[in-house]
């Protein structure tokens, strides 16, 4: 067993595990005869899929075949526990999605469990409760979810898809499994239990007659009423989803009981609404499109009452007492109908009004009528706007007495509901506490109990894309002091969040993590990324530094300011709500790069028009003028004229800056091209920034430019055309997009080919042959390729550039054409090899200086993606202040340093100060992929608490992650992570220092993943369910979709053998899904959060 060096990785993908083991010689095979050895005679990496692993655990040999999951991991732990030097580092889990679901299409709320569900157009279902409580399910087909209904309290959910199928979902614990003699409960996940689709009526070709329009779930949760396009109402048994034969209510039955004059030979139209009587179970209100509303008794199968409405119906809602109901109509009006006994026909409503009349109005799509203890009922409805003047607005109206607010959203209203504080058992009043509105692009929650109905900030589901995300930056291990000040600056109101179902069982994060996103409108948003819920903390706007046409000073995050602004004499009384605002006032404000020093609280933000802003944190409001400095990066180069946008006009008058990060200095690059790289060294008071023309170095303490260097190649013409121009680039981008389309078409077919059945493949190929072939030119990169001067990365380092005995501050810059410039810096106060205190007043007058030390031209000329200086032990240098404040181990300055230069094609380590190549890895030459992102990540061992290793993580253009050891550049593991077609996902990927990462899966959602076996952020939560009889049906082998499983396991983690032996014979069983962090004595050396165990108690 000594042969095993260590297990270096684990892949979990679609229910299968692959394990990477690094070993010296092939002795391992004696223990695992099934393992393919490959060419590992001299050591190397071996990948096994789970099927051919045989693992010894506790002296007993278990062969794992077929479906294997985490147990295998466990057993490997057992196994490796016997192996010295065994370290587990890597794995890949897609842990959680942050942000707002892309293209939501349905909303549901469970008032008992306080859970909210959102369905999307791609067939995903997400359930949210209290912050941190999340479940995800994915339908087999990517069909839009059109409706969802909770079975209250049961942890079950019904979904109706666009393809007319009804699905029942359950929060279930997986089947218990026997592992190593210990019985464990399975994981909890959202699982599809069964599905049903109404058959088309025989003889009628189109099944549109049985197309489901509405669903009604009776309160008893035993019957589902299904309204259809053809006007029929079908009844399904729950939870089995079986049609009750002979119960179906067809339109003819209703028409018979209609008076002659109303019937007039026309159809009643589709069923538009079904509502159960609030007091008398078994009575439902059926509303037909033509306007007829029927109160139907299910037990007697007889119409109790007919309301002969004439206006086309949109929706119905009961008044709580059941004495009246409200109908909304397509003409923008609503009517109140009284349910009086006696006369079975009602011809006229009690009252009727068109709130935004008298001119033609749009339909009121949905109306809610909520009674309140405090006074008159609250009426909420969406739509109904005057067609001509405000027909294009997305509005929702709240009315109570004289109070009338028209919420004006920036995106379409999907659905809305109200929540109540009181338990539903107190039946006298609805007493809505909050209104939750799902819009196409965000979720807005209005506090209905506070006068003025302010909106509540959301602790999750925040629209990340309220303005398009242009860049992101992650800061791990934020010092608590900075954290506190940021939270104060953001003054995030901790209003009680109305959706509070479930219990977040995740341990408090060990460290606070910040995610900073830069946006197109010039704002930087700070998010709490420590846990499952991505919570907004603070928003910084850089627009106030500049003089812009429209003053963007209003802060939509602060709802308390809103009521003052909305008092207009306008009708309807609009109020802007929500923060989704995709229209940027000035694209030049867009943020391109962010760098934050968490120790000195200095922030550098760089944008599209060459602006670089240095900000400092302040708790006080301040009015001051920002120093402006212009740096010419062209350096008197002849023959260039900038054809792009102008630079932003700095504000000439002092501007008020709210508490938080306040600008100190503004540096503007000339030409004002977009900033492509920025770095900050707060200890030296220096910032470096680069554009497509060159790079500059600026001392923000003394407010003087230290260096400006032009990197343009004489033949580079494209660099001068700004991003906003122009014909050439338009043509280019068009060409590229066409190419991309063609490419995807081709690659799609290739995938089809990979299946060995050759007939189809051949057909596909023959077809492919007809497509005009795409050509690629094979030429080495030349120096005059366009945009060769773009500065791709910048880095400060205290290292040996001049000679091997004296180290000092250096600046490194890498360009698009494979050039690296290294400058030796003379920083006042920073002595040769040691950092002096900056207190000396005499030194304050001295200026920083930069002298070019070395220039490296990589022969392959590929863009330099990243530069990192490694210390004598081969570890990356610590961040500024970390060493001087003893926050990190001091770098090794006694042995020779080296520099790692990562280009798009190769990784190379050079020795310092004599730059000679030590090791390299030619990624492109071997794999045909190009490096897109590079990060230095610390992977901690799961086995040994204090052991960690630095690893280089590369994300390539194919969306896979390559992990390399440092400084040996030995490939460790490769994971497929992002789809290669997902270009924006790859471009947006950001790594944390401890092996996690984020990438955008839609404009509004970050996927969080973890490469580290030790650091995982995933939902761990418990929910109390009250579910009649056990699982409805045997879970079918369905939808083991990647997302589904990964999320589901997030929902539970490990089940532990705390089993109470139990039997349940009662009809109602309290089904508790409970999680404990359990470590059996044998595994106590493992502190990985992977190894949580959960158990089910049955009482």
């Amino acid at each position: 067993m000594k042969c095993i060096k260590h297990i270096i990785g684990l892949i979990y993908d679609k229910g299968l595990y692959s394990i990477f083991i690094y070993f010296e010689v092939g002795l391992w095979t004696s223990a695992c005869p099934a393992v393919q050895r490959g060419d590992t005679t001299t050591g190397g990496v071996c990948r096994w899929s789970h099927t051919d692993i045989t693992v010894c655990s506790g002296g007993k040999e278990d062969a794992f075949k077929g479906k294997v999951d985490r147990e295998i991991y466990l057993n490997l732990f057992f196994y490796i526990a016997n192996v010295p030097f065994s370290l587990v580092y890597f794995c890949l889990f897609q842990t959680v999605e942050h942000g707002f679901p892309h293209q939501p299409s349905a909303l549901a709320f469970d008032p008992k469990l306080q859970l909210m569900a959102i369905g999307t157009k791609s067939g995903a279902i997400k359930i949210y409760g209290a912050p941190g409580v999340e479940f995800t399910g994915l339908h087999k087909d990517t069909t839009a979810v059109t409706q969802m209904h909770f079975l209250p309290g049961q942890g079950r959910l019904l979904s109706l898809l666009d393809d007319n199928t009804i699905h029942l979902w359950e929060l279930v614990a997986g089947p218990p499994r026997e592992v190593g003699g210990v019985k464990r409960e399975g994981m909890v996940c959202l699982q599809e239990v069964c599905s049903y689709s109404l058959p088309g009526r025989p003889g009628i070709e189109s099944c549109s007659a049985t197309r489901v329009t509405v669903l009604l779930l009776l309160r008893s949760c035993e019957l589902l009423c299904v309204g259809t396009e053809g006007g029929g109402v079908y009844f399904l048994d729950l939870p089995r989803l079986s049609l009750k034969d002979g119960q179906t209510l067809l339109q003819d039955q209703v028409t018979q009981s209609l008076p002659e004059d109303y019937r007039c030979g026309k159809s009643l139209g589709p069923v538009e609404s079904l509502q159960e009587h609030p007091q008398q179970p078994g009575k439902i209100l059926i509303g037909y499109s033509r306007g007829l509303v029927v109160l139907w008794d299910l037990s007697t199968r007889h119409a109790n009452h007919l309301f002969l409405g004439k206006q086309q119906l949109e929706s119905l809602v009961w008044e709580r007492s059941g004495n009246s109901f409200v109908s909304s109509h397509s003409d923008g009006g609503y009517s109140v109908w009284a349910v009086a006994s006696g006369n079975p026909y009602t011809h006229q409503p009690v009252s009727s009004s068109i709130p935004y009349g008298p001119f033609p109005c749009k339909a009121i799509n949905k109306i809610l009528w909520r009674t309140a203890q405090s006074g008159s009922p609250v009426l909420l409805y969406s739509g109904g706007m005057p067609r001509a003047s405000y027909g294009d607005r997305h509005c929702l109206t709240i009315q109570q007495d004289k109070e009338h607010v028209t919420l004006d959203f920036t995106s379409r209203v999907i659905d809305f509901f109200t929540t109540s504080v009181l338990s539903l058992l107190l039946v006298e009043f609805d007493d809505p506490s909050a209104l939750v509105v799902l819009l196409e692009e965000e979720l807005v929650v209005i506090d209905l109990q506070t006068p003025g109905w302010p909106s509540l900030p959301t602790p999750y589901l925040a629209p990340l894309h309220s303005s398009a995300i242009t860049c992101s930056c992650h800061v791990s291990n934020v010092p608590p002091k900075l954290w506190e000040r940021l939270v104060n600056a953001g003054k995030a109101q901790q209003g009680h969040w109305p959706i509070c179902g479930g219990k977040n069982m995740a341990p408090l994060p060990k460290q606070q993590e910040l995610l900073l996103t830069g946006h197109e409108d010039g704002t930087v948003r700070f998010w709490d990324a420590s846990g499952v819920a991505l919570t907004p903390i603070y928003k910084l706007s850089t627009a106030s530094v500049f003089h812009t046409d429209c003053d963007p000073s209003d802060d939509p995050q602060d709802p308390s300011n809103d009521p003052d602004a909305q008092q207009e004499e306008e009708w309807p009384p609009f109020r802007k709500v929500g923060c989704f605002d995709p229209y940027s006032d000035d694209p030049r404000l867009g943020i391109q790069k962010i760098s934050l020093c968490k120790y000195s609280n200095k922030l550098v933000v760089a944008g599209t028009a060459g602006q670089v802003i240095v900000l400092g944190l302040s708790d006080e409001r301040s009015d001051h003028l920002v120093d402006v400095s212009v740096v010419d990066l062209l350096q008197d180069r002849e023959g260039f004229t900038w054809k792009g946008h102008d630079r932003l006009e700095p504000r000439l008058k002092p501007a008020p800056f709210p508490p938080g990060f306040q600008p100190l200095v503004l540096v503007q690059c000339l030409p004002p091209a977009s900033v492509t790289a920025v770095t900050l060294h707060a200890e030296w008071n220096l910032i470096a920034f680069g554009t497509s023309h060159g790079f500059g170095l600026f001392d923000y303490h003394r407010r003087n430019a230290v260096l400006a260097r032009c990197t343009l190649h004489p033949n580079d013409s494209l660099a001068m055309e700004g991003p906003l121009s122009r014909v050439k680039s338009l043509k280019k981008s068009l060409r590229q997009s066409f190419r991309r389309i063609r490419k995807s078409r081709v690659s799609g077919k290739k995938r089809a080919i990979s299946t060995p059945t050759s007939k189809e493949a051949n057909a596909a190929l023959a077809e492919q042959e007809e497509v005009a072939p795409v050509q690629r030119r094979i030429e080495p990169r030349s120096a005059d390729d366009s945009l060769s001067g773009v500065v791709r990365c910048l880095c400060f380092a205290d290292t040996f550039l001049r000679d091997g005995t004296h180290h000092g501050p250096t600046l490194w810059a890498g360009t698009n054409s494979g050039s690296v410039y290294a400058y030796a810096l003379e920083v006042p106060g920073v002595g040769l090899g040691r950092v002096c205190e900056r207190s000396g007043a005499g030194e304050g007058s001295a200026c920083a200086e930069a002298v070019l030390g070395k220039e490296i031209q990589l022969m392959h000329r590929a863009p330099v993606v990243s530069i990192c200086v490694l210390d004598g032990r081969g570890k990356p240098l610590p961040d500024p202040y970390e060493a001087s404040r003893d926050l990190a181990t001091a770098p090794d300055m006694t042995n020779a340093h080296s520099v790692l230069i990562a280009s798009e094609e190769q990784l190379k380590v050079f020795s310092l100060p004599k730059v000679s190549a030590k090791t390299k890895f030619k990624l492109t030459a071997h794999e045909g992929c190009r490096v897109r992102k590079v990060a230095m990540v610390v992977f901690s061992s799961t086995a040994q608490e204090d052991y960690s290793e630095h690893t280089l993580v590369c994300l390539t253009n194919l969306g896979d992650m390559h992990l390399f050891s440092i400084p040996g550049l030995r490939p460790q593991v490769r994971y497929d992570c992002i789809r290669k077609e997902d270009i924006s996902g790859i471009a947006s990927c950001v790594f944390t220092k401890n092996g996690q990462g984020f990438y955008l899966i839609s404009p509004s959602e970050y996927e969080r993943f973890s490469l580290s076996a030790k650091v995982l952020t995933e939902p761990l939560c418990s929910i109390h369910l009250d579910r009649p009889d056990g699982p409805a049906a045997q879970p079918q082998a369905n939808g083991t979709h990647k997302n589904q499983t990964s999320q589901a396991e997030g929902g539970s983690g490990y089940t532990h053998a705390h089993t109470h032996t139990h039997t349940h014979t009662h009809a109602h069983v309290c089904f508790v899904i409970f999680l404990i962090f359990f470590l059996p004595p044998r595994l106590s050396f493992l502190s990985s959060p992977l190894l949580f165990f959960s158990s089910c108690y049955f009482s």
Binding site: P773, R776, D803, H806, A824, K854, A917, T924, A925
Partner: protein, 397 residues
Amino acid sequence: EQEYHRDTLLLIFEAEYRRFALKRNGPGGFQEFYHLLQTIHRIPGVDVLLGYADIHGDLLPINNDDNFHKAVSSANPLLRIIITKREDEPVVFATNSLQRRKKGLGLTGLRTTGSSSTHQKNRPGLLIGSPQDFRQISSIIDVDILPETHRRVRLHKHGTHKPLGFYIRDGVSVRVTPQGVEKVPGVFISRLVRGGLAESTGLLGVNDEILEVNGIDVAGKSLDQVTDMMVANSHNLIVTVKPANQRNNVMHRGSKMSAGNTSMRSAGSTGSAPSHDSPSPASQSNPITASNSVAEGDSEDEDEDGDLIIENDSLPPYVSHHVTNGNNSNHNKDSPSRRPDSSTMVRPLPQSVSMPNSVGASLSNSPLAMSNHNGSPTHTASSSQESMREDGNIITL
């Protein structure tokens, strides 16, 4: 010791003819011979170009030890040497050029053809550039380990400004498997740019299927991946192709050059080839050494030559180190600030002539000379590298 008599046909300026004898084993090196000629013709210090007529009547250059030895060995016993003043329009060496010269010297075909070195038998009009332009641009390697239907071509982009000049595309490849004929996606050469390196080698053709790039199988890789791999290897590109036209395939050593034979072979091999097609993986780790053909050094080494590092002397040295650094800065004064690739700098130019087919065959008759030739430049390169490292001013890696 036998003595052979040779004529020297002198064409200096207005033609001067000398005839003299030399010992076959005693001519020494090219430089010696060059000086000998200068003395004989009493033109010391005049830069001249040497050429000779080989057995086929082709006018070939003499400008290094190797082709000098070759020239000597081809003398039977007379060796005609043509000496031209270098300032003249460059002499164009070409097939049958001697005959042409006899007919109307200097009247035709004396224009420079750039660095083109294409040599095709059936087009006698094609010209070859002057000897200083000669440089190896391609080679066929690993002939002995590859299936006959495949060809592994090495393109030497080094030191030329010529574009590689080819395009690739997606396509369908037909494989013969035990199950029958199967179509699989493949990558093919779609276009050759006129005058480009790829075209000028004559070893690559449109519709040739690309099987490997620098030893890595391209099966299952997308067009973009293959493109990236080729670009990444572009300065030393080794592609293994399955030529669309199998008739021009290189024969194994010893096999006779006969057109009829060749076509027979290719017809037979296309059917059976694919199942045992895949080239041996051994080539990945060491694609060059196994070859019996011309190659210059390991690809890895050559790659290391790439990055250019310029160190700045204006870096203010520390006081304590001033003395030692002073030396360095002196050294650096006479070295240009930006040097071209070390290989072009160090390697004596011109190097050698690579001729396909007929001439190539005759060249390989003298493997000693070739290996000798191969050895020397790399040696000098590495030794000069060593010395430069010690200098510390300009380092080439």
